[in-house]
């Protein structure tokens, strides 16, 4: 009995030292949750990729929203006609609800890596770090699932694209 009590005391005394190297996680940041979300989106996104023709046709429907998640600066310098800008870094439940409205609204996304131009405002990013990946994960994470992503590499000088210059 005494021995087990001592063992408990010893454990209690040792615990703060043992726990020191791994700090408790910030409760407002969930890396494991992010990985699991990314895994879910990886498969779902495969079914939501569209070519330019389908993208353009979907964009003409009345409820559709073309969402451009690049920075405000890049958006001002050039964007697809009709696109609305909400920089990815400003995504919150409130800001998305304000811009999108209903969770089932058809959303069309594109980013720098949909262009072959590789000059401002659509400088090519590393293929693993394309903004569409982050945007898609975030939209699904906030409950917006009716997302389609442009899957083609286009040229913003192509008149079909309807590129608006700042």
């Amino acid at each position: 009995m005494l021995r087990s009590c001592l063992a408990v005391l010893a454990l209690a005394a040792a615990a703060p030292l043992a726990a020191a190297p791994v700090p408790p996680a910030n409760p407002q940041i969930d890396y494991a949750g992010f990985r699991s979300l990314a895994g879910e989106v990886e498969a779902y996104r495969q079914t939501r990729l569209v070519g330019w023709q389908e993208f353009a046709a979907a964009a003409r429907r009345p409820r559709a929203l073309i969402l451009d998640a690049r920075s405000a600066e890049a958006y001002r310098a050039g964007h697809i006609r009709g696109a609305v800008n909400l920089p990815f870094t400003d995504f919150t439940a409130e800001s998305l609800a304000r811009v999108i409205g209903r969770a089932d609204r058809p959303i069309l996304i594109y980013c720098n890596n949909n262009f072959r131009n590789d000059r401002p405002p659509v400088m090519l990013k590393s293929v693993r770090l394309a903004l569409n990946i982050q945007t898609f994960i975030n939209l699904v994470g906030y409950g917006y699932r009716n997302v389609r992503e442009l899957n083609e590499v286009v040229d913003f000088d192509d008149p079909r694209i309807g590129w608006v210059r700042g």
Binding site: I29, F34, S71, M123, E152
Partner: protein, 182 residues
């Protein structure tokens, strides 16, 4: 020999009919990104620091405090000395311009390091906190000396060196950026 050839022919013949899934955009690699999130996970865990350590590290003139929030949020308020590169603006060129050496010590923080949950630090959902992609992107671009603030603070805490706008403006991305050690 004949059998493998027939298999190859059969596959080649069937492939044009497989309309879905569409060929991937060669400029976007989602599986590569998903793999990267796994590679960074354990490393990031060893690079989380509390506020005292963050503050102590920030006194080193070589250290860069990098704020990856939007320009607008940064202008409205940020930790004193921080330099702003919004995450959508990350590119090899821009980061090299602002950070310099890949072994330079970098400190990151985001909205979800604050409990205030109001602009310019409105809380994001935990799994999509900005520190997560910021950390992953920095590692992918070759920067390994990153530490992430792990505490939840208040911008109203008098001990928090919080710079409020409109006087605060986005730092230039030129070599004259503040805190650049040279």
């Amino acid at each position: 020999m004949l059998r493998p050839c027939l298999v190859v022919l059969a596959v080649a013949a069937a492939s044009p009919l497989q309309a879905t899934p569409p060929p991937p955009n060669p400029q976007i690699d989602f599986p590569g990104y998903a793999q990267l999130t796994g590679e960074v996970r354990d490393y990031r865990r060893t690079r989380l620091i509390g506020w005292q350590a963050f503050l102590a590290a920030a006194t080193d003139p070589d250290v860069l405090i990098l704020d990856a929030r939007s320009e607008r949020q940064f202008a409205a308020g940020h930790i004193a000395g921080a330099v702003n590169v919004p995450l959508p603006e990350f590119s090899a060129e821009r980061l090299a311009e602002v950070i310099g050496r890949t072994d330079r010590p970098i400190l990151i923080y985001c909205n979800n390091n604050f409990r205030n949950n109001r602009p310019p630090v409105a809380l994001k959902s935990g799994p999509v906190a900005l520190n997560i992609p910021t950390f992953i992107h920095l590692v992918a671009y070759g920067y390994r000396n990153i530490r992430e603030l792990n505490d939840v603070m208040s911008i109203d805490d008098p001990r928090m060196p919080w710079v409020r706008g409109p006087g605060a403006t986005a730092a230039p991305s030129l070599p004259s950026a503040p805190r650049r050690a040279e």
